[in-house]
Symmetry: C2
Subunit: 215 residues, 2 copies
Amino acid sequence: MSKLRFRISMSLDGFVAGPHQSKEDPLGVGGMRLHEWVFPLEVFRKMHDMPGGEVNESSLVVKEAFENIGATIMGRNMFGGHPGPWNSAKPWNGWWGDNPPFHTPVFVITHYEREPLVLKAGNSFTFVTEGLAAALQQAKVAAGGCDVSLGGGAQVARGYLREGLIDEMTISLVPILLGSGERLFDDTGEDLQGLELVRTIATRDVIHLRFARAG
Amino acid sequence: MSKLRFRISMSLDGFVAGPHQSKEDPLGVGGMRLHEWVFPLEVFRKMHDMPGGEVNESSLVVKEAFENIGATIMGRNMFGGHPGPWNSAKPWNGWWGDNPPFHTPVFVITHYEREPLVLKAGNSFTFVTEGLAAALQQAKVAAGGCDVSLGGGAQVARGYLREGLIDEMTISLVPILLGSGERLFDDTGEDLQGLELVRTIATRDVIHLRFARAG
């Protein structure tokens, strides 16, 4: 069965992005510090056509996150650009240029209708205005038996978590403080909706906590 | 040199106590869930004069927390009782009865003066009204070359963290959500004040993240 899987980097104080996210600073002030553990990895460098790089215990976690993924879901804020209705005169086509790193159909949850956007190398963006469950249903069909990756951001992830729709979640806990920004677990209730810690991979720079459904 | 050491259990969403802390419910609603990993341990049961119990990877962490401790610091809220000036007609002498588990001089940070309280088995409580640094100084003298344990709660711990006065910190991360309550890292800034992750001990129920000063 197709699963909804989610991996995200979070600071010790619970933030998944720094404050003041903007077009110029999409991860917010200091937000890049959450991702420093991934940049030296060979598996990351390969994805971005760069040679060399390290192999360590985090390599497996990055590799796994991209395995068997047939579709991707993200929120409007993660797709980025501007708030409100889409500007068709000067369309925002995402942060990633002509060749985004998803290589799957991507479903963007938004309040505003827009025609699908097709880019290079298997990347397409479909804009879903019917909510989280509808986006998941469309993504699962598109995934054709493979899993669906939940890209973020925090708001959309919280919604899927509260609805109990996430089947696997990996929190890559980075032992730093961001002080402010976007919290992942904010008003998410007392219930992990059946998710249990099933594996911990610890390095000096990041601790990967993998949660899955029991049984 | 005498160190200030701090160990606390924290939920995945960052809470170290549940909401609605009261005399009847000192850990707040659901707060007991943060400590379930410790109760089955032999090392914990022994401290409370109970036979039997488990030995697992968490045993070391509990054992370490009590080793080489010569004094303890806590906030007024952790000592408990009532807000405002001390009621000398009906004195509150802590949660722990005649024989508290500290067996060291304890320094309680409060806004209200009070005579020291001496209980059984090496337990005494001194009430410090001159602030965090003064309490630490008195505790270090009392510790006589041993370390000082910072008991909590969250507010006092945040204060010592912001001042850069904590030398070792172990966060026992419990993979559950509490949803609300007292957050440890709340407005603690972007700086761990020289503390770095130096060890992770992972079990299914709790992940112990130990921070210490580099060098």
